[in-house]
């Protein structure tokens, strides 16, 4: 219960998680994430199936979103206190990479699945439903 409350709480500014969204013509902006649910929503909003063709069309609506998945794992463990989920994410991600963008594209779906499961568990715990 305590863990569920902590996972679903909003964190203060200094403990925020930083992600980024890049558009072709509006550039890259950092996104501050203040809660686990916001992190889930960020990952949900990341489309990773754009072809190179779609990405590079001039004036394209495609975005390249990015969140350092190892930093996410650390944040979940250190700030939210969910060491089990943190470890599970690290196992999926498999360490640092020379091309973090490509790794993000490959790993975001399995990471999101884990996080959505946890989100449902925590919400269920707080509402008293299994």
């Amino acid at each position: 219960m305590e863990l569920a409350k902590k996972v679903l709480s909003k964190v203060p500014w200094q403990d925020r998680l930083v992600a980024s969204i890049a558009h072709q013509t509006t550039g890259a902006m950092t996104i501050d994430i203040y809660s686990f649910e916001e992190a889930v929503n960020f990952l949900k909003s990341c489309r990773t199936d754009y072809s190179l063709d779609e990405l590079l069309m001039r004036g394209s609506s495609a975005t390249i979103n990015y969140l350092d998945l190892n930093a996410l794992a650390s944040w979940i463990g250190d700030v939210l206190g969910d060491s089990e989920l943190s470890q599970a994410i690290r196992e999926v991600v498999g360490g640092e990479s020379e091309n973090p963008l490509l790794i993000f594209r490959e790993k975001v779906k399995p990471v999101l699945e884990l996080m959505e499961q946890r989100l449902a568990q925590c919400k269920g715990k707080l509402s008293g439903t299994p």
């Binding site: 072709q24 902006m29 949900k44 754009y50 063709d53």
Partner: protein, 680 residues
């Protein structure tokens, strides 16, 4: 010059007089920005510095000789004057908008409009061919940008689309007037107010909406039936199109998985909202890209790009992706004619201050903004309501992010940390941080605003990001550098212009890149009118050997329309002349190299994310990241010195010298600067 209609409308709102300027008087400046700067100099320079709110501030709205012809992507109209947005000095600046206004103005027989003075009460300008009336706007004042246009359509063309109206020249048209208007936000003289035309064409930067409001000018309406723009060589114009399509567009149906052409992208690509079933592409006049869309629902018509991006992060945080709230939020910025980039950075700033515990109910910056509904259109609407009513934090926010932060006593600290992402001249950061994409940041700080010019950005920023995201690298950094070295007339033969490494961005090579960019955009885009989403076309996977149609394309279209026979280099020289004239105006406003500096965070805070760029490192070209970079103060000062040297300006002040100005046939500019003690 063919393409010109021959006259520019000159309206004095104080005296309520209407005169004409013979376009031939300014033909050497070609059109758009060139003519705007030249007219501004003639009418205002000797009186500088003045406040942007001063009735002596002149606003010019200029087309180009290509506007209204079949030259592709030339539907833009350039707006200039002393703006409200920049800080601490309100620079002479520019904005630009698309749509059909420029074409309609030409069809009415006008090349542009010059607005002087200040009306004693709200008015609007009604142009019907040669007839120009300064009409009472008391029934328009208080309306938003869309309501205003609908009311003017009713007044001028009976309100019914397709109804015939007769103009003063005995001609007939079923067109609705093209209207450029402000909303209530502009009426208040707000610095974040933009000018809007039709559903979603806006001149956002500069705060010209507030300038219109300060002049008691609600809107300009134009309907033209005088006829088409005369083209010198129609056959050459069609052949230029054919050449561009055959060589640079590629087959949309069989497009290989390489970088698509700028010339002929798929329609509605600029629309980033939630698509509906009943939608169709929408384009500015004579543009093959049709980057916008229109919907049966009427929601998000003609909005694109930042009109969604300013709020998409918040909608996604709330809903896990875009929803119809995003489309509604786009509409709010058009309806209320507000600068989207300001809104973007203001929203992020407010959210950050709220998370820090500094802003909110009962906090140091007290506001009842409902952050629990951030991500809904209702949140944006509430914020805009506060701005219009001048209540809560709304009054401060009318002044823009930087001045609001100053009022709250946070400007210095938040510019030091980057919490307030306004890197140059109090203008919001576009997404291409000076610490990374230096040509953008340098061009902005050496000019007067966020440049919003994607000529290099397309392939130095987005290409490598896309390549990395897919693990597919069809074009190398070295090839991009080589192509630029061939195309950047008159600085050909130097591939190191494209070196964005830690050493490269302070080099003599990079100086040339920045100077090329300033001169190219001043002429070929802001004066000739080519749209930023089409030109420049430098690196293009559908062109021969990955090469785009710049520099040949611009010249082909320009010469076909005007009947001139200029070279690309000659156009660049006109651009250099315009750039020098603009600098002279800024000097009269207070420009000196000592004030040309970025916000502190650009020098003090390492850039936090990966940002791949072409770099030449240890004898090898590669796409490498600028993560962790800061701009070195001393090295940037040295860069400025090199830049001023290349431009022929004094290295101690950044002021143009007499020899440079006279070589550009600007002796009269040198004489005035000398009289004011500001010659380099």
């Amino acid at each position: 010059m063919k393409g010109h209609m021959g006259k520019i409308l000159r309206v004095n709102l104080t005296n309520k007089t209407v005169k004409t300027i013979d376009t031939k008087q300014y033909e050497e400046w070609v059109g758009g920005h060139g003519i705007g700067s030249a007219i501004f100099w003639d009418l205002v320079a000797s009186q500088l510095p003045i406040s942007p709110y001063d009735p002596k501030n002149v606003v010019t709205i200029m087309t180009s000789p290509l506007t209204g012809t079949l030259a592709p992507s030339t539907g833009r109209t350039e707006v200039q004057g002393i703006g409200l947005q920049s800080y601490p000095i309100e620079w002479f600046t520019r904005g630009n908008f698309g749509g059909r206004f420029g074409m309609m103005l030409k069809n009415a027989g006008w090349d542009g409009i010059v607005i002087e003075g200040k009306a004693d009460k709200p008015c609007w300008i009604n142009i019907v061919d040669d007839d120009v009336d300064i009409a009472d706007a008391s029934d328009l004042w208080g309306l938003d940008a869309w309501e205003t246009q609908e009311e003017i359509w009713r007044k001028v063309s009976g309100g019914k689309f397709g109804k015939w109206i007769e103009t003063s020249t005995g001609r007939y048209t079923t067109q609705r007037p093209a209207v450029l208007t402000i909303s209530q936000v502009g009426e208040l003289g707000a610095r974040i107010a933009s000018l809007v035309h039709d559903a979603g064409n806006a001149a956002g930067q500069g705060g010209f909406g507030g300038i219109f409001g300060a002049k008691n000018l609600k809107a300009i309406s134009v309907i033209g039936a005088k006829g088409a723009v005369e083209v010198a060589d129609p056959k050459a114009l069609f052949e230029a199109w054919k050449w561009a399509i055959e060589n640079y567009r590629g087959d949309i149906e069989t497009r290989p998985s390489k970088t698509p052409s700028a010339f002929g992208a798929q329609p509605t690509q600029g629309f980033w909202g939630v698509k509906e079933k009943n939608m169709r592409p929408s384009a500015c006049a004579v543009c093959p890209k049709a980057c916008r869309a229109k919907f049966r629902s009427g929601i998000a018509n003609e909005s694109q790009c930042v009109e969604f991006a300013y709020y998409s992060w918040a909608v996604s945080a709330r809903y896990g992706g875009p929803t119809i709230e995003l489309n509604k939020a786009a509409d709010l910025t058009q309806k209320y004619a507000i600068n989207n980039y300001e809104l973007l950075r203001i929203l992020v700033y407010l959210r950050t201050l709220n998370a820090m515990g500094v802003l909110g109910k009962g906090k140091a910056i007290d506001t009842d903004l409902p952050f629990d509904i951030l991500g809904t259109a209702a949140f944006v609407e509430e914020l805009i309501r506060k701005i219009i009513q001048g209540k809560d934090i709304g009054l401060a926010l009318r002044e823009g992010g930087v001045r609001a932060a100053k009022q709250w006593g946070r400007l210095e600290q938040d510019l030091k940390t980057g919490v307030l992402a306004y890197p140059y001249w109090g203008c919001p950061e576009h997404g291409y941080d000076p610490r990374t994409e230096a040509e953008w940041g340098y061009g902005s700080i050496l000019g007067e605003r966020d440049i919003n010019e994607h000529d290099f950005n397309f392939f130095v920023y987005w290409y490598p990001l896309g390549f990395m995201a897919t693990g597919n690298f069809p074009i190398s950094a070295e090839e991009c550098a080589k192509i630029c070295s061939e195309k950047l007339i008159p600085y050909t033969g130097d591939p190191f212009m494209l070196d964005y490494s830690d050493e490269g961005i302070y080099s003599e090579h990079f100086v040339k890149l920045v100077a090329w960019h300033r001169h190219y955009t001043r002429f070929w885009k802001q004066s000739v009118g080519f749209c930023d989403w089409m030109f420049a076309d430098l690196v293009n996977a559908y062109g021969p050997n990955n090469r785009g149609l710049t520099p040949d394309g611009e010249v082909r279209f320009f010469n076909a329309v005007t009947g001139k026979n200029i070279t690309f280099a000659e156009g660049m020289e006109i651009g250099r002349r315009i750039w020098n004239l603009d600098n002279a105006i800024w000097v009269l406003q207070g420009r000196h190299r000592d004030v040309v500096k970025f916000a502190d965070y650009i020098y003090e805070v390492p850039f936090p994310s990966d940002y791949p760029l072409p770099m030449y490192i240890k004898g090898e070209w590669k796409f490498a990241s600028a993560k962790g970079r800061k701009i070195d103060r001393a090295k940037f000062e040295d860069f400025k010195t090199k830049f001023y040297t290349l431009e022929g300006w004094s290295t101690s002040s950044g002021w143009p010298t007499r020899s440079t100005l006279e070589a550009l046939n600007l002796k009269y500019v040198a004489d005035l600067l000398a009289a004011k003690g500001k010659l380099g």
